[in-house]
Symmetry: D2
Subunit: 331 residues, 4 copies
C-alpha cells in the first residue's frame, strides 16, 4: 500500500526512541513540569526568540479549544474561515465551551484582512456576539500557505480592533518548509500559536506558544480543566526536545515537503488537474472510476465525493516508492 | 410621533388590567403552578386540540434557549436560517449552552426542506456535530409567513431524519392573522412551539407548547435552571387567560394585520418599493435622505443601512392617524 | 386563608398601577433603554450615592447567574454558604454556566470572613478551581441579617485576595427595615448587588447595581445572552421608578417588617420555639400534628419536614387579621 | 532518590517498546479505529466477558469528564465523595461542562449506599438538580479498596433510582491486585468504568468500557468534541494490546502491590502510624521535622500539611532498594 492518508500514521521519529532508551529508568515528574519538558521549553524559546510561555498539549483539538477560548468573556466569539478545522472537523468543540464561531467564506482556506473588518462591522450591537479572536491555520486545511505579510495584515487588523490572533500550527512545520519561514517569524505576528508535533514526527502532542501576556496567567488551570494536561506530559516534552535538537523538526518537514514536490511534479507530468499543492497536502481532481482503482493499492482521503477531489498527504517517512507507486496507479 | 418601531411598546391589553383590578387582593402562588396559569393552560389546550404541556416563559430569548437546547445531547446542533433570530439577535445564547447553530442561506427568511436534507448529508461523520433540531420562526424575522404545507414538508423531513422541529411563535399571532391558520394547525406539525404574548398584547411573556413527549419530562427543571421561571409567573398566566378569553388574542392580531394592510396600500399608492409585506412587519426601500426626514415624525428601525431598507411594524394599537402621518412624511 | 407562604404573591403596589394608567397610551422603547428605566436609574443612583451602572433583570435566579458569573474566567469559582440560594434552590444554574460553587457550612446562613480565608487556602493549586467571587445574601435564606460590619469584614478579605463580593439583595428591603441600613451603605462594601423588586411590591423584577468597573463593560451583552433582558423591560423600570418615589420601597419593607414583629411577639407570648426571626421570614418549630392543623386555614412553607420547622413570611400586604388568624390556629 | 511520588513516572512497560520496534514502519490509521486498537479491544472484551463498547482516552481527567457527563441532561448532576478526584483535583472540569457535582462526606474515600439514598431524598424538587450518576473510584483517592459487595450495593441503589454508576478505574489494576477481583467482576456492577493504563505501565492512556447501552451511541462524537480523541490513538491501543497479552497488566499491578506490602511491613516494624495502606498508595503520619529529613533522599507527596500526612506510592518498577532506602531515612 502506498499510504498518503495523513501525516500522523507513524510512531514518531526514531531519534525520540533512542532518547527514551537512554532515559528509560529515570523517574520523571508529571504534568509538564519535568526536566524534559523544561529542556524542550528552552530549545523552543530559542526558536521563538522572545518572551513566551510554552505548554505541551495532548492533541490538536484540545489545543484549539484552549487557545481560542481561554481569553474569551462569555459573549465573545471566534472568527474563522468556513474551512477552518474548528468549524467542522471538531464536532462543535468551541461551541461546547459556550462560544460561537463566526465564519467567513474563502476559496483557498485563507482569511482576508478585509473580511475581519466586515464581520466586526456587522457585529456592532449588544444582540450580536463580539468577535474577540481570529483563528487561522498555517498551513490551512487545504494545504495553502499564508505568506508572513498576509498574516501580518490580519494581525494589524486584529490589533486595531482589539482582537487576538491565534495561529493553529498543527502543520506549521509544513508551512515553514514550503515558504522558508521560521518559528520566530510567527511569534511576532500573533498572540498565541501552536507548533504541531503529531504531524511532524513527535510521538504525539503539540507545543503551545503563549506570546501575549493575557494568554499566560493561569493558563495551566484551563489546561487541566479541559482534560488536556497529561500525567505523562513528559512524553511530549521529550518529543519536542528531540525535535528541536539538531534541527530535526525542520529536517522532518523538509523531507515531507520534498516528497510532496516529487508527487506534484509527477502529477503535472501526467497533466492532472491540481486543486491545491502548496505544501504536504495535495488536492487533485480524480473521477469515481479512478478513485475505485486507486483504492486498490493506495490509501488517501476523499475530500469531496461529489467533485471527486482527493487528498494526498506526504510526511517525513514517505518514500520515492510510495510516490512512484501512486503515480503508476493513476488512470 | 408615529411609532412603527416594534410591536412591544405597550403595557398590554386593557382587558388584562381590568382583570388585575378584580383580582388585586388575591394571594397567588408562585412559579406558574397557580390557578391563573392553570386557567390559561386550559384555554390554550382547547386551542391546541391535543395533549401538550404548557409552560409560561419570561421572554422570547429565554424561550428559544429552552426549546432548542432542552432535548439536545452535547454533540447535537440546531439548524436555522441565517436570518433566524437565534443566530444573530440573541448574542450567542444557544452557543452559550454549548450547542452549535448551523445555518443555511435564505432570501426570504424561510428554510426549504431540501436544505435540511443537504445539511444533514454534509454532517455525516463523528467530526461533525449532529443536527438534531430545526428552528423556524412564524412569522419569520422578515415578516414572511410559512404556509402550513411548507412547514408540514419541513416536519416530514425532520421525522424522516429523527430531528425535532421547533416553531418560534413570537409573532405566531401575526402569522395567523395573515394566513388564517389556527393554533391547532401548528400543534400537528412540530414538536414544540411558542405562542407569543409580548408582541400581541400580553403584559409580557410567551406560552410554550410542548407537544412531543420528549420535550415534557423535567422541562420545568430547565426552565428554573436557565432563570426563566418567574416567581410571579402568574402575570403571564393571567395575560394568556385574558388573551384567550373572547378571542382577544386573535382580535389583537387582526387589528395589527389590518393596520399593516392599510400601510401597505398607502405605500403601494405611492409606488414605493416594498421588500416584504406579508404580515405586520413591512420592509421598504428608502434612501439616506428620506430616512433623515422620516425620523423627524416617525419611529422605526433601519434594517439595512447600506441598502436603506427600513422596517415598519404595526400592532393592535396602531391607529389610522399613525399610518396617515407616516405616509405623509414620505418624500 | 392566612397566607404566609412568601412575599411575592401580590400583583405589586397599587401606586405602580396608577402610574401605568397615566402612561397607558405611551409608546415605550424596549430592552431597558427607555425613559422610564432611565428615570428609575436616576432615582436609584441617588440612593446608591456613587458611580454605578444599573440594569433591570427579569428575576432573581437570572440576576444571580449574571452577577456571579459575568466576571469569571473558565477556571474560576463562586464561594457560597451551604444554604445560599444559588447552591440548592436554583437547579444548578451557576454550574450550568460552567462554574463551580464551593460551599462553606453555616448554621445561620452567614459566611464568616475566616471561612473565606480557609477556602482560599485550601484551593491553592492548579488542580483546584480558583475562588474569585463570594456570594452572600441579605437577608439570608434563613431571614438572618448581616450587620454592615460583618459584610465589611468579608469585603476586606475579598479585596485582600482579589475576589469580588456580590450581595444578593432579593430581600435587601427587608434587611434594611430590620437593621436600619440604607442602599448607599451596601454600595460601599461590595462590587455588585441587587435591589429586589419582586419581593417588595414591584410588579416583578430586580435592579442590579454594578459598582466595580470590571462588572460594567458589556454587561448588557451577557444580560441579552442569558435571556434576562426583557423586551418590555420598562415594566421593571416603571416599578422601580414608583418604588423609589416617596420612599415607597422603604415604606413597603417597613410594613412587612412590622407585621413580622407582631407575629414574632404573638409567637413569643405563646412560648413557641423560634428558630430565626430577624426579618420578614420567621422560622419556628412546629410538630407534624400541628402542621396538619395549621394547613386548614393558613398557607406557609415547611422548611424542614424532619424537624417540623415551618417558615412564615410577611409582606407589605400582610394584615393584622392574617397574623391573629394564624396565631389562633396554633395548638 | 527513592521515588514514591506517584505511579506514572515511567515511560511504560518495556514490552510495549519491543512491540513498537517490531511495528515501527507500519502506517497506522488514526483516531482509534486502527488494527492495534481493535486487537486491544478484542483482548479487553475477553476480560470484560460481556457486550461492551471500548474506547481509548488520552487521560484520566478527560475520561472522567466523558464518562460522567455524556449521558446527562442539562439539569442532572453527579454524586461523588468529597475526596473524589473529580471534585477537587480536576479544576472544576465537570462543572465546566455545565453539571453540578454533589458531594457526600466520607472518612475513607468510599460512598455508602445509604448516602446515595439520602442525597436523592434531599434533591426532590425542581429547584434542585437531579442526581443521575454516581461517581466512585477504585482504588479510591485514599488507596482504599471497595469490595465487590460494597459496589454491588451501591449499584443496586442506583438501579432502584434510575441512576448510572461510573467506576473511575485509574487505579483499577491496583485494586484488583489488592483484593483479587477481575475486570469481569466490575463489568457486572456498573454502567461504565475505566481500566487505567497510565498508572500501570501503559505509555499513557485509559480504556473506557461502556457497558450500558445508553453510554454507547455516538460516544465517539463526545470523545472528539472534548479533545480526547487522539490522532495517534493507536499508541493507547498498542499499550493495552501489550498489557493484556500474557497478563502483563495483572503482573505489573502485582509487582506494585507486593512492593507496597513490603513497605507497609517495614513501616509497621518501625511502629509507624499508618492512615491507609490497602493498596499501592500508603498514607502515613509523619512530622514536619521528619518530612524535611525525608525530602533529602526520597520523593513523595505531602497529602495534608497540617497533619503531616504523607503519601507513598509504589508501582511496577519500585525496587527493594527504594523501599529499604526510604525506611532507613525515617526518624
Amino acid at each position: 500500500m502506498n499510504n498518503f492518508r495523513n501525516d500522523y500514521k507513524d510512531f514518531g521519529s526514531p531519534e525520540i526512541y533512542r532518547e527514551i532508551e537512554k532515559l528509560f529508568d529515570e523517574k520523571i515528574s508529571g504534568y509538564g513540569k519535568d526536566s524534559l519538558s523544561n529542556e524542550a521549553r528552552e530549545l523552543i524559546k530559542k526558536e521563538v526568540g522572545r518572551d513566551a510561555d510554552i505548554e505541551f498539549i495532548s492533541g490538536g483539538t484540545a489545543a484549539n479549544i484552549l487557545a481560542t477560548t481561554f481569553v474569551l468573556r462569555p459573549y465573545e466569539a471566534v472568527l474563522s474561515c468556513e474551512s477552518g478545522h474548528i468549524t467542522h472537523h471538531e464536532t462543535g468543540s468551541i461551541e461546547s465551551t459556550g462560544h460561537k464561531v463566526v465564519t467567513v467564506h474563502s476559496e483557498d482556506g485563507k482569511i482576508k484582512p478585509s473580511q475581519v473588518n466586515e464581520v466586526i462591522k456587522k457585529h456592532s450591537s449588544e444582540v450580536d456576539v463580539k468577535i474577540k479572536l481570529v483563528y487561522i491555520s498555517q498551513t490551512t486545511e487545504l494545504g495553502t500557505v499564508y505568506s508572513l505579510d498576509e498574516i501580518r495584515e490580519i494581525y494589524k487588523v486584529c490589533r486595531e480592533n482589539n482582537l487576538y490572533l491565534y495561529i493553529d500550527g498543527a502543520r506549521l512545520a509544513h508551512a515553514m518548509a514550503a515558504n522558508g519561514t521560521k518559528i520566530k517569524d510567527y511569534a511576532e505576528i500573533c498572540d498565541v500559536f501552536t507548533i504541531g508535533g503529531t504531524k511532524n514526527g513527535a510521538i504525539f502532542g503539540e507545543a503551545m506558544i503563549l506570546v501575549n501576556d493575557d494568554m499566560k496567567e493561569n493558563f495551566r488551570y484551563y489546561l487541566k480543566q479541559k482534560g488536556a494536561m497529561m500525567a505523562k506530559s513528559f512524553l511530549i516534552g521529550l518529543s519536542f526536545k528531540v525535535l528541536f535538537t539538531d534541527n530535526l523538526y525542520y529536517k522532518n518537514a523538509k523531507k515531507a515537503y520534498e516528497a510532496s514536490r516529487l508527487l506534484k511534479q509527477g502529477l503535472q507530468k501526467k497533466n492532472r488537474e491540481i486543486v491545491f499543492a502548496e505544501s504536504n497536502q495535495i488536492f487533485i481532481k480524480s473521477s469515481p472510476e479512478e478513485i475505485e482503482k486507486l483504492k486498490v493499492d493506495n490509501e488517501f482521503e476523499i475530500e469531496n465525493e461529489e467533485k471527486s477531489i482527493i487528498r494526498l498527504v506526504t510526511d517525513y517517512k514517505t518514500s520515492d516508492d510510495d510516490i512512484r507507486g501512486f503515480l503508476e496507479s493513476l488512470i
